[in-house]
């Protein structure tokens, strides 16, 4: 299903429309590879307010990126995102 703003919502097995953790963490991951739209960023923000698991996931992804940059420096990779 496509909302008016073009954002796709996932459909859960119960048929209700909502942003679930799988969708949100996938979006957080994508945010490391491309610029998210304003609407995507808002959906993440709203979800993180309510979800400690996804909040931890987001912090850890930021850490992982930093760790990989450190690794790149250690082994002489580019690491220039």
């Amino acid at each position: 299903m496509v909302r008016r703003d073009g954002a796709r919502l996932s459909k859960t097995h119960t048929g209700e429309m909502m942003d679930d953790c799988r969708k949100i963490t996938g979006m957080i991951s994508e945010g490391l590879d491309r610029e998210l739209t304003w609407s995507e960023r808002m959906r993440i923000r709203v979800h993180l307010l309510m979800c400690s698991g996804c909040s931890a996931f987001e912090k850890q992804m930021i850490f992982l990126r930093e760790a990989m940059r450190t690794l790149a420096e250690r082994i002489g990779g580019h690491g220039d995102h």
Binding site: D20, R22, K23, S29, Q60, L64, I75, G77
Partner: protein, 198 residues
């Protein structure tokens, strides 16, 4: 004159590139000995064929292209030897691997919910942490490890990774998501567990 024309294969350069290539090979082959072999063969081939290096790409890009061929040879040899079929359809099964983390309604599955890690940056100073990181990276399936490595260590764009690995952008995103999710779990279990719960 091509911009990289003055590149040289002196001992210093070989040493430096060797380190870099080894990580690449390790991510792909997940076997230190095989990775070492592939890198050795790459450097030998590079020295022998340096005359054909036209300087159109950076030296490293050229070396990685050779290495990828060597790795492909290794993988073919392994498949021929009828060992475990390691070249599974990683991209296609990435979705299934993620299924294990989430309940059917898309919320965190039991025991899969990320825990707080306290101050993880302190780990970056710890030598043992990097050993754990290397171990965790080696546990990623080959193609997924390669995509992750190209993205995070080499800093390549999604587009160039998709082209290089001949996969779609969506598949690429799912593979990277899986790599990150799996690394996260491995690091939490092997390093951060219990440190940030207070």
């Amino acid at each position: 004159m091509a911009p990289f024309m003055d590149a040289r294969l002196d001992e210093q350069t070989l040493k430096q590139e060797r380190k870099y290539l080894r990580y690449y090979a390790l991510a792909r082959l997940r076997d230190a000995e095989l990775a070492e072999d592939a890198v050795q063969e790459t450097l030998i081939a590079a020295v022998q064929n340096f005359g054909s290096y036209a300087g159109r790409s950076s030296l490293r890009t050229w070396l990685v292209a050779i290495l990828r061929n060597k790795i492909a040879d290794q993988l073919r040899a392994r498949a021929r030897a009828n060992e475990v079929q390691i070249e599974t359809l990683d991209g296609e099964t990435a979705d299934e691997a993620l299924d294990a983390l989430f309940a059917r309604n898309g919320h965190w599955g039991e025991n899969a919910r990320p825990q707080r890690w306290g101050d993880p940056r302190a780990a970056l100073e710890d030598r043992q942490f990097w050993e754990v990181m290397e171990l965790c990276m080696q546990r990623l399936p080959g193609r997924i490890a390669e995509a992750f490595y190209l993205r995070e260590v080499m800093g390549e764009s999604i587009e160039s990774i998709c082209n290089g690995l001949e996969i779609t952008a969506t598949n690429c995103s799912v593979m990277l998501f899986r790599a990150r999710a799996q690394l996260r779990i491995c690091l939490e279990a092997k390093w951060f567990a219990g440190t940030g719960r207070g």
